[in-house]
Symmetry: D2
Amino acid sequence: MPGNTIGKSFRVTTWGESHGAAIGCVIDGCPPGMALGEGDIQPDLERRRSGKSRHTTQRRETDTVRILSGTFEGVTTGTPIHLVIENVDQRPRDYTKIKDVFRPAHADYAYHHKYGLRDYRGGGRSSARETAMRVAAGAVAKKYLRERAGILVRGYLAQLGPLCPVAFDWDEVERNPFFCPDPGAAEEMAQFMDTLRKSGDSIGARVDVVASGVPPGLGEPVFDRLDADLAHALMSINAVKGVEIGAGFRVVEMRGTENRDEITPEGFLGNNAGGVLGGISSGQDVRASIALKPTSSLRLPGRGIDVAGNPVEVVTHGRHDPCVGIRATPIAEAMVAIVLMDHYLRHRGQNADVEPAAPVVPASSVVPPAAD
Amino acid sequence: MPGNTIGKSFRVTTWGESHGAAIGCVIDGCPPGMALGEGDIQPDLERRRSGKSRHTTQRRETDTVRILSGTFEGVTTGTPIHLVIENVDQRPRDYTKIKDVFRPAHADYAYHHKYGLRDYRGGGRSSARETAMRVAAGAVAKKYLRERAGILVRGYLAQLGPLCPVAFDWDEVERNPFFCPDPGAAEEMAQFMDTLRKSGDSIGARVDVVASGVPPGLGEPVFDRLDADLAHALMSINAVKGVEIGAGFRVVEMRGTENRDEITPEGFLGNNAGGVLGGISSGQDVRASIALKPTSSLRLPGRGIDVAGNPVEVVTHGRHDPCVGIRATPIAEAMVAIVLMDHYLRHRGQNADVEPAAPVVPASSVVPPAAD
Amino acid sequence: MPGNTIGKSFRVTTWGESHGAAIGCVIDGCPPGMALGEGDIQPDLERRRSGKSRHTTQRRETDTVRILSGTFEGVTTGTPIHLVIENVDQRPRDYTKIKDVFRPAHADYAYHHKYGLRDYRGGGRSSARETAMRVAAGAVAKKYLRERAGILVRGYLAQLGPLCPVAFDWDEVERNPFFCPDPGAAEEMAQFMDTLRKSGDSIGARVDVVASGVPPGLGEPVFDRLDADLAHALMSINAVKGVEIGAGFRVVEMRGTENRDEITPEGFLGNNAGGVLGGISSGQDVRASIALKPTSSLRLPGRGIDVAGNPVEVVTHGRHDPCVGIRATPIAEAMVAIVLMDHYLRHRGQNADVEPAAPVVPASSVVPPAAD
Amino acid sequence: MPGNTIGKSFRVTTWGESHGAAIGCVIDGCPPGMALGEGDIQPDLERRRSGKSRHTTQRRETDTVRILSGTFEGVTTGTPIHLVIENVDQRPRDYTKIKDVFRPAHADYAYHHKYGLRDYRGGGRSSARETAMRVAAGAVAKKYLRERAGILVRGYLAQLGPLCPVAFDWDEVERNPFFCPDPGAAEEMAQFMDTLRKSGDSIGARVDVVASGVPPGLGEPVFDRLDADLAHALMSINAVKGVEIGAGFRVVEMRGTENRDEITPEGFLGNNAGGVLGGISSGQDVRASIALKPTSSLRLPGRGIDVAGNPVEVVTHGRHDPCVGIRATPIAEAMVAIVLMDHYLRHRGQNADVEPAAPVVPASSVVPPAAD
């Protein structure tokens, strides 16, 4: 069974290759009656778009989205929404020389063995270009969550190689090319990237996403827990190798008395749980982190093989991001929004008539986000 | 849409509460013609079973599994396999005092807000008892993978609080109550747990799973990548707060030249990828790690609230594991096996007639497992 | 991908063979807070049960259902409901002589080619015994629909071979062994069946189901239309070879002016549509009909082959229904109820906050049910 | 959960409205390595296209399909195939007068109540225009089935109002505008339609589909039987009110001795089963029939209501088919092909390594197709 659809009640199916004519997605299940135009989607695409600073790939895609169905007179109708972006800066000729080569740490080898052939132009379907449609679909989810459910989904760069933000200011996140909440750290990152780019190497990163205003009750145990579906969605992003909810791997060394977020009528006294208890949202901020590996497309030679099994030296001169984590913040936000939207609708289907059974505790997370 | 089923082609649906009459699962999609009896499942249940050492909960369940359908004359028929385990040591009366209490860091509060009511006996559906059926279903998957696909799925305890194994020996894993690959570390862990238990506190842990013999080609990009589905399955285990594939969060500080696993005709020169490239298995060992939080059921008092919103002091005197990670190894193995089995069948459905297109590189991971 | 689950939001998974230890099902997605006990399910099982009259198979199963999970203190909790019925009158030894035989018009040949082997005892998984669990799950759906949504699902035998009811009285349906709404026709049917049984032959039948009180809005175009999902569910019943919605095949010869159910403020002026417009319920009675083939298990010899491909004469002396349609009414009702329940929850997930946009027309179907 | 996707292993998701910019579909799960170009799809679209004879709507759409993804150098890659057709002859202004009107026997009323609003231009999403994408996706399925599995899917018009073909010639089907296998009957149909068109009325029809070369083993009991999935797919076509497999409703009056298709080493002695036994293909021709209602869009006035609940007289002057059945043959073929393709892959996933267990009986259906 194929895997290009995510979600059960809010379903997103993406299509398209890096150097095909276009990329697109179908969103099925969006509730009717929400105002929606291209202008609601374009800003998030703009945030993800490359070529805005010297720190990202120089491929120049305008990423202009069009809505081809599912709205009428500017309002969603409840029928499938189709979004499309034309590829305008594809240069397939760049890629003929890697046609028969399996580059190290790329999808080439695995795709070739799975399907027996592959579209080698810029990675074809395995290219990070596909994530543009995730951002587009996520923008629709974010809008509904914000307007109808009071849920705000925001992310930031939590680490770039050895560098972490120290100060934390949500407003700052949108002011630098790194989505870094600390202007000082952003400056350091810029210098780090300049040096790195000259060296020809690449670097990993960590991105955090916080969803606030999430009501208690979202998540479908025992398998489709909210945290499990977040892990699925986030790990499905290109280059992601790890996912944490709340305190994540720090729990390994924690004691129970330290880890348990005590509950008082005034609020929770911590958020090590990351807003999820037993796989269901608790009303606290939902917090997730991802680790993104450094790009493997480098001009520093690496060892690979060709389709005949012979050793080859691989040098990449194409246009690539030296740190894919830099543009990953809007993508991670989108995936979190898609999952929350899906669970919002899933929960409502089964439990729309559940009467409030107990008081809701304030979601006063005492832990400041940057320190988490 | 409810969430008690995992898998698309190999589908496992579990049912049952901690203190109900029984727990069970339906496995739909198991290929026909495989010899299967209770004796193939019981050993893994035995590995997970509590009460075998002083380091786990003293609830004494025999966990005797019965196959009620899906086999005929000792062989699978391709129809649904139903497995059932009767609960024999339930003591629901122990739990009436927490009936109206939301314990900190438990699922109580979230379940109550989702469903408006809950089975409070031992956590009801949110109890880790449910994981017994995952182990049972996983044993069926493991058997098929081993016999028909040459895939071996094994796990071990990679960290218990501050303690890590130093030496590594797969045989040792089954010789101590911790699934620890290092006998010396296991001894330290026993002492650590004795001290901890006396203190009344609990501790986190980390478990690693390795699947060897996985052929290249398993995984369904872009959303149902093999790593994404592993993250989903592993994060759905009670108490898990983080999932890593391969180098996991270590990639954040890595450079591309360091991280990329170069390919030579003699094999890959590293396995930072954890056996997954572009969401598809590469033929190397598939490697995943999970972080398990410390149990929140403690006899050391903690702050909670009751259903009316009043503050209460919560003290747990029931039978609980001071480190849920100790018994988590068979559970993590089971989830990895279920995902691999599912993807083995999914891949075959679409690509059964793909001709081998290129030589398969030996899966010679140069990194020893314990150091990874 | 296997096929033993039906429904997306209200999911029913059945397991078990005709002569295994038991049969059962898991219902996932039932809303919480509904009173539910075995006493709510047993009556429908009793309606389907064999051996109550001379017109059905003499296999004597008590069909005693037990709820093993998903309820707490007599109320649904929103977690999976497991229902089980033990098989008490299996006689597997009866079947050894058909072990290597493919009977005409049975599932033997097809199962054998699909799976390479089969449980030949009483048809194994292909036995109509499996439908008991559909009736059990359907009883849960019916109860919710009736109590929470005001929907009533009822069926009746609309034809038995050449015999049709002429009068129509819902109360009469439960008073004769045929679920026939006309006492006179029921008497004729009894005589017809007595003669048929002596002849050793069997006969087909037609069953109609009517769901009243269905609100407008259920159904998910373009593929999961309400009528399409009803067709799927009803055609999945053993022996069913045709499904009609509303006027069904009579529309082939109808003109548009005759067929279109005109709408007035006082109600619809017909129900050729069977309560479904564009795949969505219109608020009128939802009406479906099914055709059931005559049993192929006969004591009159028929030609079959054995597993080696040799011709054999097949004579069936086991216990069988000479008209499977007689007991099909509760099964058909159950499948309609499961589909409506599923769509009730699916619709609510996406559209729970849709404001009533226009007046609802009274569902005054002017056509009397028996004449339809 | 929304419903615009059909299939599990071969998944088709359609999008688009009658008078939007375009319509399209995503096919996910198509096996790689099959040559595919627009030229493989266009001919079936041409067969469904309107405006080719005086007997269909005069809307002139060229229905020119483009493949935007999923192929590389003319061959499928195993990734999602996106097909798109631009709408060129939409005239939305025609429809403003029905903006606030619920026409009898149209989807207007049901859509409005479901979603609270609707795209009223030509029926929006409920328009039969959507079926063009089914035909496009079906052409891909047909090609794979024909080339890789030896399965041929063909349909014909089996009845138009009172008129049935008497002679039967597959070649004739493509020679007249009705897909009628009998040239004499086609001539009668032309006269019938001319008279009907002048009268302003419309008429129903019946279409049969036959799939030959289907191997035994396709279908996933107990719910996703091959016949149940065919019923789902066929009933999801606009205007369909009934589905039959094999002898269909004729079984109601049949005796078991008459209905059972006896098996001999030389072949089956009948095909009342329509090629499906126990929900699994038997190797005989798979045969299905559908009933299509007469169009409700008529220039003869009918009673409807407006959104305020007031009575209105509805007269339709737009471009419509007086018999939707005339163009339904390629659509029905497409839905059958999509289901067979899906089950071909589903079966292979679970049972690819099943050894042939018994000889396959020749599929010599003795019943000539037209008489069935």
